[in-house]
């Protein structure tokens, strides 16, 4: 590992937390998720009574209140799965790159998926969410590889700061390409604007259905990599010594992370900073053992995104703040905090 700017946070924490602490946190997060999901069904720009919430959950949509709750159900579910996917993929990316600043948004992977989707909509007449997903994952994978290649050039390999800088630069570059593709197309610019800010507001069951298989595959790949990620955290040499096939393990985990963030970007737009906030918080709660960390970050991501969605609906009534904006407002200061903690050689 390189001398400067290496990762410190996970090593500073105890590797082992007693199993009871972890189970407690897992249960606590699950309970919080239930509360947040309930809030997401009950709260919004229209006030509804609890009886209506129950009725709507049972499938009734006779009154305006019940109908609006019924519309909140897919939205809540989408927030939960997308949040879980982003939280999990952030943790896996941090593990694979051994980099505390890794996040699908910061590394530009979301923006790569965006560019691919936008190009698909504008030039290849993609219209269905299932079409987006393949394209988005292709874009995400290409960008991830490119950013990693650029960030690992030169002395010290892929240090956190180099990787974050390469990601931010490539993200800025891709963002200008995205606007160049969208601008001439007034017909798609409105759809695109909603999608670009990052939101779960327009969720439908059809969307959910088309994205679920991909997310499931991503979840399986990531969760199956838990043990490998633990070995990788010790460094490549030690991991190889422990019998881990380093390149293969890394490729599988990275594939899982890219599938997760590509698929969630395809349905919810580029949402940044969830994959940064969640893993760090979860590590504080449960230590660095990925077998616990991965499920915890999935739960944590779901809680964060659903809560952000609820807050966005409440604070700006009668309109809404998109969830992507709220996560950026929460996440950017956190990013700055981590950058400040890093040891950086003065130029």
């Amino acid at each position: 590992m390189s001398a400067t700017g290496t990762l410190r946070a996970p090593n500073a924490l105890p590797m082992r937390r007693s199993a009871r602490v972890r189970v407690v946190w897992l249960l606590v997060l699950a309970a919080v998720l239930l509360v947040v999901m309930t809030a997401s069904l009950a709260l919004g720009s229209r006030d509804v009574a609890w009886s209506d919430v129950w009725a709507a959950l049972g499938g009734a949509d006779h009154t305006l209140e019940q109908a609006s709750v019924a519309k909140r159900i897919p939205r809540t579910l989408l927030a939960v799965v997308v949040g879980a996917a982003l939280g999990l993929s952030g943790t896996v990316m941090q593990g694979v790159t051994r980099n505390p600043l890794a996040d699908p948004g910061i590394l530009g992977v979301n923006m790569g998926a965006s560019l691919a989707v936008v190009t698909g909509i504008a030039h290849f007449h993609l219209a269905s969410a299932s079409g987006y997903i393949w394209v988005a994952m292709g874009g995400a994978a290409l960008t991830a590889g490119f950013v990693y290649a650029v960030g690992s050039l030169g002395r010290g390999g892929a240090t956190p700061l180099k990787l974050a800088l390469a990601g931010a630069a490539i993200s800025a570059a891709l963002a200008s390409l995205v606007s160049a593709v969208v601008l001439p197309r007034n017909d798609i610019s409105d759809t695109f604007r909603l999608w670009q800010i990052g939101g779960v507001g327009g969720a439908s069951y059809g969307q959910l259905g088309s994205v679920l298989p991909f997310l499931a595959a991503g979840f399986v790949l990531c969760l199956a990599s838990a043990r490998a990620l633990n070995s990788l955290a010790l460094g490549d040499d030690l991991a190889a010594g422990l019998g881990e096939r380093v390149a293969l393990a890394r490729a599988v985990a990275a594939l899982g992370a890219v599938v997760l963030c590509g698929a969630s970007t395809a349905v919810a737009g580029p949402i940044a900073f969830v994959g940064l906030l969640v893993p760090h918080t979860c590590r504080l709660l449960a230590g660095v053992d990925h077998r616990w960390l991965l499920p915890l970050s999935a739960l944590g991501g779901a809680v964060l995104l659903t809560a952000a969605d609820v807050v966005g609906r409440i604070v700006a009534r009668p309109s809404e703040i998109d969830v992507g904006i709220l996560t950026a407002i929460l996440g950017a200061p956190f990013f700055i905090h981590i950058v400040r903690r890093q040891k950086v050689r003065s130029l």
Binding site: G154, A172, S176, L347
Partner: protein
């Protein structure tokens, strides 16, 4: 030291000759840039959907009434070209000032969040508080200065490390950009072209009301910065060396930062944060004139040329009218990536 003494007079002659050649080359390139800027300015006044010959344009500028040209050139093209010229000049000058002072090409105001601060403030002032004219400029300047101070303070820990400053600036930009997106989404009627002004920079629909403050800012703050060129070069050698050379370090730094931030803020309040112009001008100028001399003048000319040419291209080269920021963004993006690749290869102090 028994090695044969260097032939002093001949060395001196070589050094002098190289310097003279360098200075001559510099003058030649600055002159060429000036001519190119003038040509681009003249072209953007004359050419377009209707062509007006030079003497018509001149008569309009002199205040005569020429049917057709008075409106097209006097009301539409002239303010736009003047804003392109002055905003480009300002972005180029302010950008290279930051890059020189912080000794890092990535430390330009559009990457470390200063332009984003001005742009967010301007968008808020216009969309939410319905302000206009000078008030918008004032708000933009206050915000840009505030962001510059914030980024500098956050990056300060036993001195300011360039990389930390840049990454913190990127974080701050991400925050500000999402605030801008939100503010724009609150605008009563979503207008993509208007939104593009605050997201990537645009000169569409420029009027004299927006142009005049930027021109004044360039006329006042430009000379201030140019007069600090020598001190700035000394500052880039490090604080100790600079003060040994007789530069009043803190005073120079404050003057330079305030003037550069002011330029950025005025230009952004009128034209939006035209993507990558501040970032690109310095390195391009350095390529052209070589290092050694001050880059302030060549970089400002490169900035003006970039904006003029990019705006003209965006307006007429494609079926759609692209805002200038999209054109500079698409041009600048690969260069940004290239620069990072090169910095990483060269030794990776990042």
């Amino acid at each position: 030291m028994s090695a044969p003494a260097v032939d002093a007079p001949s060395t001196l002659r070589t050094v002098t000759r190289t310097r003279v050649r360098g200075a001559r080359r510099r003058r030649l390139i600055v002159l060429t840039l000036l001519v190119l800027v003038a040509a681009a300015f003249a072209t953007s006044l004359m050419a377009g959907h209707t062509f007006y010959p030079a003497h018509d344009v001149l008569r309009v500028i002199l205040g005569e009434d020429v049917p057709g040209a008075s409106f097209t050139v006097g009301r539409l093209r002239l303010p736009r070209a003047v804003l392109a010229l002055s905003a480009g000049f300002g972005f180029g000058l302010a950008g290279v000032t930051f890059q020189t002072m912080l000794r890092n090409p990535l430390a330009s105001p559009d990457i470390i969040g200063i332009s984003a601060g001005a742009s967010t403030a301007a968008a808020i002032a216009i969309v939410i508080f319905s302000l206009g004219g000078t008030e918008v400029s004032a708000v933009a300047i206050a915000a840009a200065l505030g962001v510059a101070l914030l980024v500098y303070t956050l990056a300060f820990r036993d001195g300011v490390a360039g990389t930390r400053l840049i990454l913190i600036g990127i974080g701050v930009s991400a925050l500000l950009d999402s605030v801008t997106s939100y503010v724009l989404s609150q605008a009563g009627q979503w207008d993509l072209q208007e939104a593009m002004r605050w997201l990537t920079g645009s000169l569409n629909g420029t009027t004299w009301e927006e142009t005049v403050p930027t021109v004044l800012a360039v006329l006042v703050l430009g000379p201030v910065l140019l007069s600090q060129a020598r001190n700035l070069s000394a500052l880039s050698l490090g604080d100790d060396t600079a003060s040994a050379l007789g530069v009043r370090v803190e005073r120079t730094r404050v003057v330079v930062i305030v003037a550069a931030v002011g330029l950025i803020a005025f230009a952004t309040a009128a034209a939006g944060p035209i993507a990558f112009v501040a970032f690109l001008s310095g390195p391009i100028a350095a390529r052209l004139v070589g290092t050694g001399g001050s880059l302030l003048v060549p970089a400002s000319l490169v900035g003006a040329l970039l904006v003029l040419v990019a705006d003209f291209t965006g307006q007429y080269a494609f079926d759609t009218r692209y805002p200038v920021g999209v054109v500079t963004g698409v041009l600048g993006a690969p260069y940004l990536v290239y620069l990072i690749v090169r910095t990483n290869r060269a030794g990776g102090s990042l």
